[in-house]
């Protein structure tokens, strides 16, 4: 197991890892000085590209490649996505609350490399402590000459604005986030144009996740090659994984990918609580198709192995369910989330997610009908034709197709359980 990158300081110094004095005392802002005075902008970008880091926000797109798409026009913007709202994820919260200077240094280096003079951090409204800690860090950094005018006496200046969201999951989608940051409804935009060409205020914009940017100081200090050498080739680097549900040791773990799911769930996360059996788990947040112990325990925990088994690592949220879990109720809870959070632009998502939630509720309430499983699959098919993974899109963004994952999961792995609930039902006109 490699050394920790992102959580090293907060583990060693729990009392003050968020302060500038502790940050400086533990090697902070060394990478920034190296970037400003010893490296060209292209050299910084080349190191990030060489790290092979795949964006940590969920899509897994290589960060350096994304940076390469930034159009030449100015002004241009860096927007850091801290709208962490995928059910099961809470690692950006820890990174911002516990080590805000690490993120800030990543923002300053990245902005310098990208030729950005004004960066934004979009933090979900339910994370006021993250915003306060990052704002205080920015104030301290400005005072000490790491942010603002002529950083460390160089000719580089950077402004930073922290923006709180208003409670909308969809704003984690990068174009919805940009609309929201512009003071509009958080509705995703059609792509192309991609944000790197026409983003915030229709200017070239890079949107990166908190965890991705927080890795940048380490990469600059230690080299992209050193980062790429950690873990499996196509899942390079350390990954923050949030685990929740029926495990003995829920929490965030910064791990090297490549271990089996068995090792992760039973060793890292401490196994299933109360001595119960594992029934199923979601490997990558609410949007991801479920895994089951009979099939997936020895599957390696990597981006590509999870994908080739029909699911995704997403933003790194593992949700574990024990043998007593009512899978129809769990699926209903997940689908209800998507129905609640649908922005309403696209009919298949707006209507489909609500119908899925209603049919699941009917089964749960003891009014299921024999045709309901087929009905669930038929509605799902209308949202995501072919029910493939990754899903075929009928919508502007992936929210609608994500709502289908719980349906395909429970009908594939737990069909007899749903049938039993339905056969015990009283048919009604609900």
């Amino acid at each position: 197991m490699s050394d920790l990158i992102l959580t090293k300081r907060m583990n060693a110094h729990p009392g003050d890892s968020h302060t500038l004095s502790r940050y400086l005392d533990t090697g902070g802002y060394v990478a920034l000085r190296k970037a400003l005075f010893d490296m060209s902008r292209d050299e910084i970008t080349a190191e990030v590209k060489a790290s092979n880091m795949r964006g940590r926000g969920g899509a897994g797109f290589p960060m350096g490649v994304k940076w390469g798409f930034l159009a030449p026009a100015t002004p241009r913007y860096l927007v850091v996505n801290c709208d962490e709202s995928e059910p099961g994820t809470f690692n950006d919260r820890q990174l911002t609350e516990r080590d805000p200077h690490q993120l800030l240094e990543g923002i300053i280096i990245s902005s310098y490399a990208l030729g950005v003079k004004h960066a934004f951090v979009y933090i979900r409204g339910e994370y006021p402590k993250s915003a306060r800690r990052l704002q205080r860090a920015a104030d301290e950094a400005r005072e000490a000459g790491y942010l603002g005018e002529s950083i460390q006496g160089s000719d580089y200046s950077l402004d930073l604005t922290i923006h709180l969201g208003g409670g909308a999951y969809i704003c984690g989608e990068e174009t919805a986030l940009l609309n929201s940051l512009e003071g509009r409804r958080g509705e995703p935009r059609l792509k192309p144009p991609f944000p790197a060409v026409e983003g915030l205020y229709a200017k070239p914009t890079i949107v990166n996740n908190v965890e991705s940017i927080a890795n940048v100081p380490w990469i600059i200090e230690n080299s992209g090659a050193a980062y790429a050498a950690i873990g499996p080739e196509r899942s390079a680097g350390m990954k923050m994984v949030s685990v929740s549900g029926h495990v003995n040791k829920p929490g965030n773990y910064e791990i090297e990918l490549g271990m089996t799911w068995r090792d992760f769930i039973f060793d890292v996360a401490g196994g299933i609580r109360d001595g119960l059996e594992l029934k199923a788990w979601i490997p990558g947040g609410a949007s991801a198709p479920w895994f089951v112990p009979e099939v997936h325990l020895d599957t390696p925990f990597t981006i590509d192995d999870v994908a080739s088994n029909g699911s995704m690592l997403g933003a790194g949220a593992v949700i574990v369910m024990d043998e007593n879990t009512n899978v129809v109720a769990a699926a209903h809870r997940l689908v209800y989330f998507f129905a609640d959070e649908s922005c309403g632009q696209c009919t298949p998502c707006r209507e489909g997610t609500t119908w899925l939630a209603d049919v699941l509720k009917r089964i749960l309430d003891g009014h299921g009908r024999p045709e309901d499983i087929d009905l669930l699959l038929s509605i799902s098919e209308s949202i995501s034709p072919g029910l493939k993974w990754p899903p075929m899109m009928t919508t502007i963004c992936p929210l609608g197709p994500s709502a289908v994952s719980p349906i395909t999961s429970i009908t594939r792995w737990f069909r007899p359980e749903i049938e039993a609930m339905i056969s015990g039902s009283e048919v009604s006109d609900v």
Partner: protein
């Protein structure tokens, strides 16, 4: 293009001016200004939306379309203490529905309602990023993790009897919380002064007055 809102409190006028300075385009200030307007008017009233429109150079209808999209802009007066109970998947698996029931019973109001004395409003909300410390609730968006039906009920009793002016997450966590998503580290000095996220530029108490 923009006009000052002279009847706002001095503190809120200053907040609004700073927020407008923080963005290249004034329209981006709509959401932050809606939070400040909620402090001024106790909720996002029609007057508040009209004032924000004036500050940002858009029409009141445009502000209303933004305000109505996001769940955290309350367009009716909330209780002094807004209790948000997370009922998304991880909290659900750990017993959130029972926590919600206990909170509703003790506060006397159901989802979307305000208690008769105006002290509480209760809502069930989607994931608040506290899954490792499930089930979790927020009071005026300040977090308590590892709550149970019994401690949830005690939390409401405590709010009713002590009526804290500043809602502090660490204080509530210590009194009523349990399992956390992660080690919170040192105590956080700032907290909420209203059912609005406590962030200095939008209004909070502690290091910011």
């Amino acid at each position: 293009m923009t006009q000052a809102i002279s009847h706002w409190s001095q503190a809120n006028q200053e907040r609004a001016a700073k927020i407008l300075e923080a963005y290249p385009e004034p329209r981006s200030a709509i959401m932050p200004l809606l939070y400040v307007a909620s402090l001024e008017h106790e909720y996002v009233s029609l007057d508040a939306m009209t004032e924000v429109a004036g500050l940002t150079g858009v029409t009141p209808a445009q502000v209303q379309s933004v305000a109505s999209f996001y769940t955290m802009f309350k367009r009716k007066k909330a209780g002094t203490y807004l209790i948000s109970v997370c009922t998304s998947i991880s909290c659900y698996l750990m017993g959130a529905d029972e926590v919600l029931e206990a909170v509703e019973q003790e506060s006397g109001c159901h989802h979307g309602e305000v208690s008769s004395d105006g002290s509480f409003s209760v809502e069930h909300v989607e994931c608040i990023g506290a899954c490792g410390g499930a089930p979790a609730v927020q009071v005026n968006y300040e977090l308590v993790e590892g709550i149970t039906p019994a401690t949830g009920q005690k939390l409401i009793e405590w709010l009713r009897s002590t009526r804290p002016e500043v809602v502090l997450a660490d204080e509530m966590q210590q009194l009523f919380g349990g399992q956390r998503s992660f080690d919170w580290g040192s105590t956080e000095p700032e907290g909420a002064i209203a059912p609005v996220p406590a962030f200095g530029p939008y209004g909070s108490a502690g290091t910011d007055s």
